[in-house]
Symmetry: C2
DNA sequence: CGATGAATTGACCGATGTCAAGTGGCGTGG
DNA sequence: CCACGCCACTTGACATCGGTCAATTCATCG
């Protein structure tokens, strides 16, 4: 259960925040703004305002009027829905270049989920009408937006399926795989999921309880598949995880 | 358990197929083509070809190359996904005016689900490029399409939540409510779900087993909430169902 | 070094799924 | 037209996964 290995622990990797110029790169790589020319990106960027958040702060709050479309520039966020009866459901994680509030901002209704900053973070925000204008000016954005929505749809359908047909252990494996692909930092020991990730977070993300997650991680740790610490998970073997995730019993 | 009541059973309502002229009305009322002028609808309709299906036939098959966008004109269909391990997941039901294959046809990849005709049915189909052209010509269609995608997204997220947080009985109630709103026929005794609906269908739709569904329906029947027959369900009191569906325990 | 909150672990239990056996209605073919 | 057989459905017994609760340990930070 010791988390100290060799000379360093797996805690506290500094999540450094890149500075202003590379913002255009982030936009250019994002699924919403990809394919725009540098001039267009410049234009897009100037239509936005930058916001800062400290770790734990809510970037948008479920139920609030949906004013703006957000794109993370640095830091990380988790997108959470709370159900009428108080359960938390973790929809997805976001890293720089990821966005949220697209549908909400365009519809102008209310945010369907809350976004919580995990690290100290920054995000560019575009108000609904501004985004709509941009889409009109650059139809590429509308096109991209549609593609993003459909991808989300596919993803959600897949998770629905998994929830319905797969046992808990497989779902946790799926969740870790997604996280390591999305937020993984390669280290010499494996892929570190580079954001505070409690057992409870993982549970909400894979649709189970923190107790089950704890037991499963323990088991995997003994098998050498992962290494864990307080709010940290390091994946030593994605292959083993994939085996677990796709086992047909 | 007797399904004969008064003078008539609840079986075999003829699902009559309306004829050609009203097609434009169906298009005009559909979420994808709403807001178009009659001339434009005419144009849209002429770009499509009509297909017929007999009950039980597959309209599109999961995994096949996604050629066309479909809109049901008469009859009913159920949209099903089968998972790698052979489980069936029922995504949704469709009635005239409902459509499927939007994303698949535009992406040109492969159908992510199968659509099975429940009744003898007809559907208009537009090939991918044709639909793309129509969208270009009438941006309203693209706009509507985007809205449809987002609605599906919201719906899917909600069902994911429900699956995660609600017990089986509530989910079955939700499923029946959706069905009675979508495919309900008012009768003097209540709302008849006007399509063959086996216990197994309901189970796949609400994420449980046919055994559980059977027990639950029995219980509701005794309480006077529904009346059931072979592949038939009649909702006598939507209010009671709503109570069950939203109970906070 | 103590406080705080995360994580672990064991005991228990309950909702649902699984399996097997049976019932009954509907359609078909003799 | 009747009988048979199929298939949807019912029902009971049972198994079990995974959730709940409580007690404890541990690590990090002030």
């Amino acid at each position: 259960m010791m988390v100290i290995v060799h000379e360093e622990t797996i805690y506290r990797r500094a999540t450094s925040c890149v500075m202003i110029d590379p913002i255009l790169h982030i936009l250019a790589d994002s699924s919403v703004f990809q394919g725009l020319s540098e001039r267009e990106l410049q234009d897009v960027r100037e239509a936005a305002t930058m916001r800062r958040y400290v770790a734990g702060e809510l970037m948008v709050r479920q139920g609030d009027p949906a004013l703006a479309f957000h794109m993370l520039i640095c830091g990380h966020a988790k997108l959470v829905q709370v159900t009428p009866d108080g359960h938390q459901v973790l929809i997805r994680y976001a890293r720089p270049g990821h966005s949220f509030g697209l549908r909400s901002a365009l519809s102008g209704f209310e945010y369907s989920l809350s976004a919580e900053a995990i690290d100290d973070s920054r995000a560019l925000v575009w108000y609904g009408e501004v985004l709509a204008q941009l889409m009109e000016r650059y139809s590429r954005i509308a096109f991209n937006g549609m593609r993003v929505m459909t991808l989300r749809n596919v993803e959600m359908q897949l998770r629905y399926q998994e929830l319905l047909t797969e046992p808990v252990e497989q779902r946790v494996a799926q969740a870790l795989l997604r996280l390591s692909n999305d937020m993984g930092q390669k280290t010499k020991e494996g892929i570190l999921i580079d954001v505070p990730l409690s057992r409870e977070d993982l549970a909400e993300y894979s649709g189970t309880t923190l107790y089950s997650v704890s037991r499963i991680l323990r088991q995997w740790e003994n098998a050498g598949v992962v290494r864990t610490g307080r709010e940290r998970v390091l994946v030593r073997s994605q292959d083993s995880l994939l085996d677990i995730a796709t086992a047909t019993i």
